[in-house]
Each structure stands twice: as structure tokens, then as C-alpha cells.
């Protein structure tokens, strides 16, 4: 009997040691072999506890000023973490000038949001949707104290905070909340689309049509890959082993209000940040991964379908004959040298769209690790 007690105690000790080692074990990304690990800020190393805390916070409507909205309101998993709207709507009903961006693989984004050259860390970016007042998004500004109160008063949160920030003097800070949300968002990675499986040699992963579309996509005739290149289909990609800071902003000829290239005043892109005339209408090329589920398109959601997107690039710029913003974007002096237009046959157009549709990682859209923990 005594011997059994010793054995049990020893077994319990072994289990404890294993659990403890797992807790402090270095983070593992679980990426396909050809995908490099993302870079992570030195002051916010990844950990399981932090990611779990971040997942709860990401889905918690108590983070908004009027308790109606969470990060997930504008970043819905089934839509590759976009919201399906042309322009996102804040917690108080204010319409944002721009469209919600996908968070999938955002850990690799060298810059964040549509046209901000200053933001290169999720921890800094998250302040704007949470606290910003122009426009109001989640609208927590002025009520930040409620965040600490929530972390202290909710039993689940106070346990997770202790695990995620065991050595922190002020573990319930908003800064730690943003670190946790950022850590969770960095785990939203998807590299299991038909295109990825094709690259890994899986026979039949791509349809013949998609395969022809892939050749078109990567051709000098269409030039798509100059801005939408690399493993995330965007030229603003960085990773842990990057040696250069790669960031690209491009004017694709969507607007030309005055014949001199002007964009609508609330959406001038990089120009709003730099004041450089040549930056008018330059926006960051978004990743094309999961593009089939992230309509409507462009920074302001003004193109409804993938067919519309392809038509825009075929023409080499958009012609708006009436409406509030008439003008011929093709003639914009600021347009990218790669948006020159091309001609496609009907079957080629179908092939190109079939390829774009092959970039969707269906498993990611339902992966439990990224789902709403309040619903499980």
C-alpha cells in the first residue's frame, strides 16, 4: 500500500514536470517546410497561454465601448477574417472609409493596414481599432480602465493572465492584452490551399483550368505577380530570416477625379500619411490568399466580384462614367507601371479566376484553434 502511494506520487511528479516543461517549451510554429517562421517582436515572445488569452480577447465584445463589438466583428473566420462589407462599420454605427483586411498570415505582413508606412507591429496597430475615435471602431477610448477590471474580475481571464504573464508587475495592463491578441493573430496561418497542395506534389490538387490560370498569373503578360508575389502573394512580406524591409504601395488606377490622378479625399492612400504628391492613391497590395472568400474588393470595397477585379486590370485602370467619383483611372499619372492592361479570351479569364479560387485554405475557415471560444 505504501509502495503504491510512492508510485502514485512519483507518477504525479512526472506529469507535473512534463506539463511544466511544455509550458515553458519554445513556441513551435508547425509550418510547412517551405514556409519560413514569422518574425516576432522581442518584447512579445509567443506562448501557448498568451495565444489562448488572446483568442478569448479577440472574440470578447466587452472590449468595445458599448459592449457590442469584438475584433471578430470585422474579422470573421468563415470569411478569412474579413467582414464581407465594402466598408466596415464601427460599434457606434460610423462607417469606416476602408474595407476590413484579412488577418490570415498577417504575421508576415511587413506593414499593416491599407496604406500606413509607420505600422509594422500588430501590438501598435491594434490600438487604432480599439481606441481610435476618428472613426470610432471598437470605441474603448477613455474607458481603458475597464479593460484591467475585466481581466481582474473574470475568473477565466485572471487565470490566463497569470499563466501568460507570470513575471509581470502589472499583468492586467492593456499593453499585455494587446500583446496577447497579437500573439493569437500571429497564429492565424493557412498554407493548405489546393495551390499549396499542388506545390507539395499532390496530384490533381489543381484543376487543369486553375493550372493554366496559374501560368497566366505568373506571366509577364499579366504582371500580377510583381505586386502579388511570394508565398503570401503580396510584395509587403517579411519573416524571421528576412534581410531587407520589403514594402510596396501601388496606385492601380481605380480613381482619377480631376484628370490629375486625385482619389476621394478620405481615401488618398499613402499620400495621407506622407504628403508626397506621387503617393496619391498608393495602397498596399493585399495578400491574395483566400481571395475568393473576401469580397468585396479593393481598399474601399468598390469592386464586388473577382470578375470585376480581373476586368479592372484587363482595362489597365477603371473608368467611372458617373456616380460621385467619375474619371478614367487608366489615365492617372500615378498609376503603377505594372498596371498597363492586357487582353484575355473568355476561357483564359475563367482559368485565371479558377487559379485565384485555388488559393483558399478551406480548413482554416473552420479550424477550431481560431474559432470563437465563447461558442465552444
Amino acid at each position: 500500500m505504501k509502495r503504491l502511494s510512492y508510485l502514485l506520487a512519483a507518477a504525479a511528479l512526472v506529469v507535473c514536470v512534463i506539463l511544466w516543461m511544455q509550458r515553458d517549451a519554445p513556441w513551435e510554429w508547425q509550418l510547412p517546410g517551405d514556409i519560413p517562421p514569422p518574425s516576432v517582436p522581442a518584447d512579445n515572445p509567443m506562448s501557448k497561454a498568451k495565444v489562448e488569452l488572446g483568442r478569448w480577447l479577440f472574440y470578447d465584445t466587452r472590449l468595445s465601448g458599448n459592449q457590442t463589438m469584438s475584433c471578430a466583428t470585422c474579422h470573421i473566420q468563415a470569411l478569412a477574417f474579413t467582414d464581407g462589407k465594402a466598408r466596415s462599420v464601427g460599434s457606434t454605427g460610423v462607417i469606416h472609409p476602408r474595407s476590413s483586411m484579412s488577418l490570415v498570415n498577417v504575421a508576415y505582413s511587413s506593414r499593416l493596414t491599407w496604406a500606413n508606412p509607420l505600422l509594422d507591429r500588430l501590438e501598435d496597430q491594434a490600438l487604432t481599432p480599439l481606441l481610435g475615435d476618428n472613426p470610432v471602431e471598437m470605441g474603448l477610448g477613455g474607458q481603458e480602465h475597464r479593460f484591467g477590471e475585466l481581466l481582474r474580475s473574470d475568473a477565466n481571464y485572471s487565470r490566463l493572465v497569470r499563466e501568460a504573464f507570470p513575471r509581470d508587475e502589472d499583468p492586467h495592463s492593456l499593453l499585455n492584452g494587446l500583446r496577447s491578441i497579437s500573439a493569437f493573430v500571429r497564429t492565424i496561418l493557412g498554407y493548405d490551399s489546393p495551390y499549396d497542395r499542388y506545390l507539395r506534389g499532390e496530384a490533381g490538387a489543381l484543376s487543369e483550368s486553375a493550372e493554366r490560370g496559374m501560368a497566366l498569373f505568373f506571366s509577364e503578360r499579366l504582371e500580377c505577380f510583381h505586386c502579388h508575389g511570394g508565398f503570401n502573394f503580396t510584395d509587403s512580406t517579411t519573416h524571421a530570416n528576412s534581410r531587407v524591409d520589403r514594402v510596396g504601395f501601388h496606385n492601380t488606377g481605380l480613381y482619377n477625379l480631376d484628370g490629375e490622378g486625385a482619389y476621394p479625399v478620405d481615401n488618398t492612400g499613402l499620400f495621407d500619411m506622407t504628403g508626397e504628391p506621387r503617393d496619391m492613391g498608393r495602397f498596399r497590395a493585399p495578400s491574395l490568399r483566400n481571395i475568393a472568400v473576401t469580397a468585396p474588393y479593393m481598399h474601399d470595397g468598390s469592386v464586388l466580384t473577382l470578375e470585376g477585379v480581373v476586368a479592372h486590370y484587363e482595362r489597365g485602370g477603371r473608368l467611372l462614367e458617373d456616380g460621385p467619383f467619375p474619371g478614367d483611372g487608366r489615365l492617372s499619372p500615378f498609376k503603377s507601371e505594372f498596371v498597363t492592361g492586357f487582353e484575355l479570351s473568355d476561357s483564359e479569364r475563367e482559368d485565371l479566376i479558377a487559379f485565384l479560387q485555388s488559393l483558399t485554405d478551406e480548413s482554416l475557415l473552420t479550424d477550431e484553434r481560431f474559432s470563437d471560444p465563447f461558442q465552444n
Binding site: 493596414t113 500606413n116 508606412p117 509607420l118 505600422l119 509594422d120 507591429r121 501598435d124 496597430q125 490600438l127 487604432t128 481606441l131 481610435g132 475615435d133 476618428n134 477610448g141 477613455g142 481603458e144 495592463s173 492593456l174 499593453l175 494587446l178 479625399v265 488618398t268 499620400f271 495621407d272 500619411m273 506622407t274 504628403g275
Partner: protein
Amino acid sequence: MSAHRIALLTLAFLGTSCSQSDLGFSIPFAATWDGVPIDCGSSSPALTDLRFYVSDVQLIDSAGKARDIRFATEMPWQNDAVALIDLEDGTGACMNGTPEVTAEIIAVAPPRDYRGLRFTVGVPFRLNHLNPLTAKPPLDDSDMHWHWRSGYKFLRAGIRTENDGFWIHTGSAGCEGTVGNITGCRFPHRVQVDLPDFEPGHSSVTIDLAALLSGTNLDDNVASDCSSGPPETSCVAPFATLGIEFETGQQTGSQRVFSTQ
């Protein structure tokens, strides 16, 4: 002088390790519309917001020499370099305001015969790009921070008329580098204010919003705004009253918004 004021001045005096002869004083601020006091409960127009950072304060002595003053640091609305003046109380039309009002700077200076006041509306560059989540008061106020431009809002002011309104947020724009490593800003948007008739202990500073919005159309039924971005031509007129040239973001003239009472 109220007991509160005496207590504050005593604190200022004790807290700034000044020599015994130093003078503790207050710089009071007040808001007007065309010379008439305005607050969140005023009608046509009502104040909707009025908060601003003040830095680089100097007193001008009778010989015309500028003397640095030292801010008391016991108050949460000022540190040794920056004070946050908050003239809205969150009531009435100040929907997004705060109940706290801080209408004065508490400071000490060597005793002299002072005749003027000089200060900057804005946060000095060396402090302007801190993380507001870790910065010390009063630079920890998220209402006063521009997360997406990096840096603080130097001035937020707004009014509402019966069917119109206008608000303005100033702050440096066109910044370069990345958040945490900002190397400079093309459009600094800082405003130096020179008030030649200011006597510490007797004078106060008035900000007149009618002067700020004197070139702005307040009858077009459009609730317009200026948030200091390069595309925003709505900023041209209010910038001009602050002495800022819209195209360069530099102060090239005298401001006409602040005055001495």
C-alpha cells in the same frame, strides 16, 4: 485665492526644488467665442471639445529676455515638460469628453518683473512618439493620441451650431520611420504663441474659437472637420489662424487664437 489654489501653489513651490526666492504661479486658461465664455452647455455654438498640450513655456522679463519656467510635477495633468489643458467637462455637447477639467498650469520661476508669456501648443518631438500605454501622465491619455499617425494630438477643439459644426485635431503628420522608431515628421504642426502683455499672478490666457474658425464656413450644413492630413483642404483656414502654412505644416506667421486677459 481659493484654498485649493494656495495648496497647489505650495505644492509647486515645495516640489520643484527651487531656491527660496522662486515665484510659484499659475497660468489660467479659458475658452471664449468672440470674447464670450463658451462651454459644453453653451448654445449656438456649444463647445464639443477643447483639449491641448502646452510645452516650452517661457516668461519674458521687462528687459525682453525669455526665462524658462519649471512645471510643478505633482499634478497628473503636467510633467516637467508638458501640460495638458482640458477645458471641456464631458457634459452637454462634449459627448466624447471627460469630467476632469484642468484649466491651469502650475509653475515656478525666478522672481522678475515679467511682461510676457511664450509657449508652444504641441508636444516636443523627443516626447511625441512614445507609446501612450507606457508614457507618464499627461502623455498617457489615449484621447490625445493618434495611434495611426504616431504621436499626440496637440489640440482637439470643436463646436456645434444648430445645424452645423466643425472639429479640428492638430498634430504632426507625414512622419517617417516606423512606430517606436520615428525619425522625423514632414508637417510638424506646432504653434508658438507669444503673448506680450502677460503678468504672472494677474493675467490669464484665452483661446477664442471664433478666431480659430474665422475662415471656416459654419453655415453650410456640413459637419466638416480637419484632422491635419495632407489631403484635407478643410484645414487651410483654421491652420492660417494658427499661423501654420498648410502646404508645409510649418508655422510661418503669428497665431490669432490665443490672447491675454
